[in-house]
Amino acid sequence: MKAPGFIHFALGLVFAAAVGGQATAAQTNVAVAANFTEPAKEIAAAFRQKTGHEAVLSFGSSGQFYTQIVQDAPFQIFLSADDERPKKLVSDGLGVAESRFTYAIGKLVLWSKLPDLVNGETTLKAGKFAKLSIANPTAAPYGAAAVETMKALGVYDALAPKIVQGNSIAQAFQFIDTANAELGFVALSQLVGNTGGSRWLVPQDLYTPILQDAVLLKKGASNEAATAFMAFLKGPEARSVIEKYGYGLAH
């Protein structure tokens, strides 16, 4: 049987090529909460330019990443959309305690593509729409903040039958963007560069501040690119990108 020998040889070549490719620059795998997608891409590009290291980004809901990291996913850094999950990862023994910090403070927006639909909290109270899109509140902090806002306004029970859930804030946005839902709660960062439609920046007193924490995972503790990325995230270049996307900064 000659075939298996050949396959092993070919696979060997492929692996050699892959490993060889990695060896030229350090690389780190970063799990990024979906709301931070755009700024993370910009920061990773700047990071690469400055340090030569590569930050490989994965996007999803914070809940999804938490579960995956607990199950030994190969992430070295976690940029969560909350502070609870990074704290839990530290107490689980998977995160480096002293590395945890708030890289951004999220802002919640009620947004519609229709120019006249959103007009402050009265829109929610009137409820003249068929579908309201939010992120899954158990998995995505922005979804939890949306529910909190509706409860604070006393409209949650009335609106509950109209709520559709995206698996992450990215999908919640996409439901509105495809006009399948008339409006919904999204992250301000998702609307940067988008002037259309109508929107309402939800006042901060209606929901618990969305403190977005970053944590270096034990898997990345000895990775040069991972520690460099954590430092870069605290630096002025990253901070100006984060501010540009409408986030608050912690200090």
């Binding site: 999804q64 579960t67 899954n136 158990t138 495809t178 006009a179 399948n180």
Partner: protein, 228 residues
């Protein structure tokens, strides 16, 4: 099972409803297609067969993406939904049925087509010489002879709809009682680290899949024996 929340069973019921309605619809829509594919001499029939088979190869995300657009306000789905004053068919049970019909169609059409082809011309010619009309020959000769194909198609269509995930995740909106089917509920439980609930549903699916495949195999064996 003490302490298991009642809402865990809602997705189960919803999934069975979705799969049942989808299977019935597919038998109704799929049978004429399968018959035509088996009997027609049209040169372009294999192109139609290919279209039907496409979901076998396409990632569910492709179907999910196009369905989301097609069901929405600017697509045909939005127009249909407009008939009863709604804006979109996405996030509805009806939308899931439409998606499932496309997604599961090859699993129903192909076994039925194969069964029709296997009958051959002879029994139908005999029926014709006995003065059976084509319609009568279809119902009294072709359909009974193709019964194993119908059975396989129905079981596979049902099972495949139960196993659907990507399409539902993309067009469903995760609404309890309407679009939160089993596979999405399991995903949700896993995502939020509710292992126990995830385990109950997932283990149930494993048993279900085992029973379906075993049943299929035994049915086919029997059909082969009877056919001989």
């Amino acid at each position: 099972m003490s302490g298991v929340p009642v809402e865990i069973w809602q997705p189960v019921r919803l999934t069975i409803e979705l799969a049942t309605i989808t299977t019935i619809l597919l038998l109704v829509i799929g049978t004429p297609i399968a018959w035509w594919l088996a009997r027609s001499k049209a040169w372009w029939k294999e192109a139609v067969a290919t279209l039907v088979a496409m979901p076998l190869v396409l990632p569910p995300t492709v179907l999910g993406f196009y369905l989301l657009v097609a069901l929405g306000p600017s697509g045909p789905g939005g127009m249909i939904a407009g008939l009863w004053g709604s804006r979109t068919l996405a996030f509805t049970f009806e939308g899931l049925v439409i998606g499932s019909v496309f997604y599961s169609m090859p699993f129903v059409v192909q076994p039925i087509r194969n069964a029709f082809t296997a009958i051959g011309d002879r029994p139908l010619e005999v029926a014709a010489t006995l003065r059976a009309s084509p319609r009568r020959a279809f119902w009294t000769v072709a359909v009974p002879l193709a019964r194993p194909g119908f059975l396989t198609g129905a079981v596979l269509g049902f099972a495949h709809t139960v196993g659907e995930f990507g399409v539902v995740l993309m067009i469903g909106g995760n609404i309890p009682g309407q679009t939160k089917v089993l596979s999405v509920a399991i995903f949700d439980y896993v995502e939020t680290a509710q292992w126990r609930e995830a385990n109950i549903l997932a283990a149930g699916m494993v048993v279900f899949a085992f029973v379906v495949i075993l049943t299929m195999t035994l049915l086919e064996k029997r059909a082969a024996r009877v056919g001989r």
